[in-house]
Amino acid sequence: MTATSSKIEALKRQREMEVKKKKNQSPFGIIITGMVITIYLALINYNLDFSSYWIIGILMGITLQRSRFCFAASFRDPIMVGSTSLLKAVLLAFIVSTIGFFIIQLRASVANPDYLITELPGQFNPVGLHTALGAILFGTGMVVAGGCASGVLIRIGEGHAMQLVVLIGFIIGATLGAAHFPFWDGVLISKTPVVHFPNHIGFFPSLILQLLLLCGLYFIADWYDKKNNIMTT
């Protein structure tokens, strides 16, 4: 939806007459669609696990591209232009996934009451100073490079040559990080714990607390967005 005016309409009409006929990209779209489906069917026979990764990855790529979802912007826009619409969308995604992850983890813990944290489905890693340090480096790089990890992948698909450079940088950086890992492990990481909330306060309280926190953040983001709207006029 746009808010147009007579001046803009006049400019648009004038420009539309000058614009030359566009090339038709549909054949490429059809060819790639065919390839995607063929690969999916082949993977079902060859490696069922890969086929799930493949189809979900495709759907994620489509969703990210179509909604212009950008994690970098969700962090950057509140700081730069006072807009939180993307941050709110990320929070919504978290609310949805929290509920789903909760059910999956609860099922796993009921099936195996003596579980180790790392055996549960989910993402568990030691948390400590290294997490903060890495996040600061990551956040800085994300804004400077104009895209996060998912943004880089999406924009390569959109045809941004610049993001290929970011990807190369990413690979160099990750490799250097892995090469220096013994140092960081010795200084910071090895003594730090994995913190899984349900392990300390139980599954249901964790769910309630996390949902409350996410909803609270959502309302703060909403308020911040509206506040900035009035202040910048």
């Binding site: 990209q25 779209g29 696990d49 890969f50 799930s52 990764y53 979900i56 495709i58 994620m60 790529g61 990210l64 591209q65 970098a72 700081i79 969308a89 919504l92 978290f94 996934s97 789903g100 999956i104 790392t118 489905p121 989910g122 993402q123 890693n125 030691p126 948390v127 903060a132 340090l133 890495g134 600061i136 956040g139 800085t140 790089g141 400077v144 490079a145 996060c148 998912s150 992948l153 999406i154 390569i156 698909g157 045809g159 993001q163 970011v166 990807l167 940088g169 990413f170 690979i171 160099i172 990750a174 490799t175 250097l176 990080g177 892995a178 890992f181 492990d185 899984h196 909330f197 996390q210």
Partner: protein, 172 residues
């Protein structure tokens, strides 16, 4: 025609993307038993290059601790991360082609090139310290009820603030 415009051509509202991604995130964990991670795949691609030039990254300390190594029957190139990363690129390409909006965008100048490379290296190095990127240490970690995700989120704001300062000063 109306439906085509709405679904294929015009960008979706952000909240639609948010809800769909939340569902896909759950679906991935449910179907494969593992969470969405991106940068581990990038690291493995780096390892492929190192192997090609005759090094043996698999012997590195990194790959023998914290479950960082390869799963049974996977190589640095052929693994679930590669499949997922390429699928995300192809998915985006598909969406752009359906909307007939694909365009190859060249690198504008040397400045853009250097900041892109620098930003990439900063992000890549950061991910090894924090065990993941904005997906692995954030988008998958927070729903897993792992403190890691919340710490990562808070300090990513600090980083984004520093990045914004750099952007205003040197890039704009």
């Amino acid at each position: 025609m109306k439906l085509y415009e709405k679904v294929i051509k015009n960008p979706w509202p952000y909240w639609v993307g948010g809800i769909l991604l939340g569902i896909l995130n759950i679906l991935l964990l449910f179907l494969t038993g593992s969470t969405w991670k991106i940068t581990t795949g990038f690291l493995y691609w780096g390892a492929v290059v190192l192997e090609k030039i005759g090094l043996n990254p698999a012997d590195w300390y990194y790959y023998s601790t914290y479950d960082h190594g390869l799963k049974e029957g996977q190589t640095f190139f052929l693994n679930s991360y590669t499949v997922l990363n390429i699928a995300v690129i192809v998915g985006a390409l598909l969406a752009v082609l359906w909307a007939k909006e694909f365009k190859w965008k060249k690198i504008k100048n040397f400045k853009q090139f250097s900041f892109a490379l620098l930003g990439g290296i900063l992000m890549g190095y950061g991910t090894r310290l924090s065990f993941g990127c904005n997906i692995g240490a954030y988008f998958s970690a927070i729903p897993s009820f792992s403190l890691q995700g919340w710490v990562f989120a808070a300090f990513m704001f600090v980083g984004a603030w520093i990045g914004s300062k750099i952007l205003f000063k040197y890039i704009l």
